[in-house]
């Protein structure tokens, strides 16, 4: 299995009484009341250092993404950070690490700019880019960037088609699209990877995205904060659709994101991470459904499906779940988060990966209010005690990972260097 250290770059010092009466941590949290640019200087630097530590300790990839107008994560353009990480990994001789951009939101930026930026990262890193092509959340695309919800998916589809063509065309071409019109396209630079960097489609749980992936043989990354158990329903249906579309069950078609905290014992882990778990779910994920899915965002069929199946579609938890009454203990028990001793975390993640049939796991080892030193500890312990074990998963199977940078595919499992950071 390929394991990525994924970072949201959150605001780590919201006050105890946050969010109070604020309707949402997204868009509605006044910067002038809660934000401190000097703290953000530290957050960005720490976050980059945490990702670089993971790179040194043997993770297969390091990952960033895009969100707007909120303290949950404020990489407004993940490619700023991807480019930084490309250069830093080059300079530190870490050219075995892939750069997972999960990624730049297609629907709300000019696709020609995104094609260029991804090409820049691929060139700068010497062909280590994995290009995430996310549809994006309504709160980012429509609320923060003003894109009409009814046009959100159409824009995304056209943007993806444009980017793939701009990367690969061996002639000038005109693009007379609905949302992009360019009479002469001739992208400079082009990616190093031929014909183009591997792509991955991150999504919430929209059935239309699964078919889109299978039709094009693209892998899918299920981004949820509600753990492996809540994902059964989603990944099972993803694999059902794969079979229906004549695709094999190659686990590398699927990725899953998991929040993880490791300490010496289960008890110590719970004590150590509880408040950061609660900070994440109670403060940062204070995100109402009416922002995630403004009317027109979900297609009519998906909308009706969701409404017909009742509120708690994923049984264990989803964005309709009221998180506020849940304590860290509840979230550990429901496995929204995987928190425990190295053995516990290993077992849970391995069982989850097998049950979901995923070949890519993304772990968030800094989350919520977790301070820099604790994040480093978490990354180190995970890298030493959990990572090598997980990386062996699927190795005894004949599956090939077609969705990883070519030059990094044959890499043997590395023994992590013990860090001094």
């Amino acid at each position: 299995m390929k394991v990525t250290m994924f970072h949201f770059m959150p605001y780590r010092d919201l006050p105890e009484d946050f969010p109070g009466k604020l309707p949402s941590a997204w868009v509605d949290t006044p910067w002038w009341q809660y934000g401190d640019a000097n703290k953000v200087t530290d957050y960005y630097n720490w976050s980059i250092d945490e990702l670089m530590l993971a790179a040194r300790l043997g993770f297969d990839a390091i990952g960033t993404n895009e969100h707007h107008q909120n303290p949950y994560g404020f990489m407004c353009n993940p490619n700023l950070f991807g480019a930084t990480l490309a250069k830093l990994t080059n300079d530190q001789g870490l050219d075995q690490v892939a750069l997972l951009q999960l990624g730049a939101t297609i629907s709300s930026s000019p696709p020609v700019r995104l094609a260029e930026e991804y090409a820049v990262i691929d060139c700068l890193s010497g062909g280590r880019l994995i290009a995430g092509l996310p549809t994006g959340l309504g709160n980012d695309v429509s609320v923060s960037n003003g894109i009409t919800p009814m046009e959100h998916r159409e824009r995304w589809r056209e943007g993806v088609d444009f980017i793939l063509k701009a990367w690969t065309a061996k002639e000038f071409f005109a693009w007379n699209g609905k949302y992009t019109q360019l009479p002469k396209v001739n992208l400079w630079p082009r990616p190093v990877q031929d014909p183009h960097p591997p792509v991955v489609i991150p999504g919430a749980a929209s059935s239309s995205t699964w078919d889109y992936c299978h039709d094009r043989n693209f892998p899918y990354a299920y981004l949820s904060y509600f753990g492996g158990k809540s994902a059964y329903n989603v990944l099972d249906r993803f694999w059902d659709r794969a079979a229906a579309k004549g695709r094999d069950a190659n686990p590398y078609r699927a990725s899953f994101l998991q929040i993880v905290g490791v300490a010496e014992t289960d008890r110590k882990a719970e004590e150590t991470f509880a408040k950061h778990v609660e900070y994440f779910y109670h403060k940062l994920l204070h995100l109402p459904l009416y922002y995630i899915n403004p009317p027109g965002n979900a297609d009519y069929k998906s909308l009706l499906n969701i409404l017909m199946s009742g509120t708690n579609m994923l049984q264990i938890g989803d964005f309709t779940t009221d998180l506020k009454p849940l304590k860290a203990r509840d979230m550990i028990e429901k496995e929204f988060v995987v928190v425990g001793s190295p053995a516990t975390v290993r077992d849970k993640l391995e069982a989850m990966a097998k049950r979901l049939n995923i070949g890519h796991l993304m772990v968030a080892l800094q989350f919520g209010s977790m301070p820099h030193a604790l994040a480093n500890q978490n990354i180190e312990l995970f890298a030493r005690e959990v990572l090598p074990h997980l990386q062996k998963l699927w190795e005894d199977q004949p599956w090939e990972n077609h969705w990883w940078p070519k030059k990094l595919r044959k890499r043997p499992v590395r023994q992590p260097e013990l860090a001094t950071a």
Partner: protein, 266 residues
């Protein structure tokens, strides 16, 4: 309520849209344009049917139209041209048009595009203009209970309770809810994220004598907008209905009905 409504299908060449127009009543023709939540055949429309043959087109993607049809209607201009084709197909040469909220904006857009086709106009709490000091409430970004509280002043009044009545079968509730959300998205396509899409520049073309009606306590679009509409429509008059929210046809039908009838028959 006495009138038997039928739904006419009108193939529109523009955008290949298959239009659906609900029709009932007898008498001279009148066009009714519904609000952002989709077509509703309420007692106000029923009342209009007593004196008029009411034509109520369904916005693309709502009511009886194909849900996906909204994707073929790219712009506000497309939508206005679709209305023109519908008027042509129904042989409506010069008729009164009533529009409520989003429908009020569309009535103004159409009356500005083809001033000679609208003989009189009534707009009920229309959107379509913007003042920074009185922003239109973000009605597409609200939980249901806040949306309802934004629409109505008296949630407990019998007509409001009747308007909010949900079906008893949960499956029907799911369909009604999906239709409502989709209607907000399908109409929202032409007003997102701020309902100020140039009507301001076009309204001077409107010739129809216009009645501008507003609920005094409208929390979705403030009644101070009545003056803004009146200032841009040459032959217009304002009626403010006291103790009333965004939907006078539900909350104050007893006042609105004679007011509109008097204006149209004058």
């Amino acid at each position: 309520m006495g009138t038997t409504a039928i739904v006419k299908t009108i193939p529109v060449r523009h955008c290949n849209f298959e239009a659906k127009v609900k029709t009932a009543g007898s008498g001279p023709p009148l066009v009714y344009l519904h609000a952002a939540g989709g077509p509703i055949w309420d007692p106000f429309v029923e009342g209009l049917c007593e004196h008029y043959t009411v034509y109520a087109p369904h916005h693309p993607g709502t009511g009886e139209t194909a849900r996906e049809s909204i994707h073929s209607v790219g712009s506000l201009w497309d939508l206005v041209l679709i209305y023109e084709e519908i008027f042509d197909a129904l042989n409506l040469k010069s008729v009164p048009v009533i529009g409520t909220s989003f429908g009020g904006m569309m009535a103004c857009e159409f009356a500005a595009h083809r001033p000679e086709r609208v003989s009189k106009m009534v707009v009920l709490d229309p959107i379509g203009l913007w003042r920074d000091d009185a922003p239109v409430a973000p009605y597409m970004l609200m939980p249901p209970e806040r949306l309802v509280a934004t629409l109505y002043k008296h949630l407990d009044s019998p007509p409001v309770r009747a308007a909010l009545q949900m079906p008893s079968d949960p499956k029907d509730v799911a369909v009604v809810t999906a239709d409502l959300v989709w209607a907000l998205g399908a109409t929202g396509k032409f007003v997102w994220p701020i309902p100020d899409k140039g009507l301001n520049k076009r309204m001077h073309r409107i010739k129809a004598p216009t009645l501008i009606v507003w609920g005094e306590d409208d929390a979705l679009v403030s009644s101070i907008y009545a003056k803004e509409f009146a200032a841009r429509i040459a032959n217009s008059q304002i009626e403010i209905i006291k103790d009333c929210g965004h939907v006078p046809q539900v909350e104050r039908l007893e006042i609105l009905k004679p007011m509109v009838e008097k204006f149209l028959s004058a």
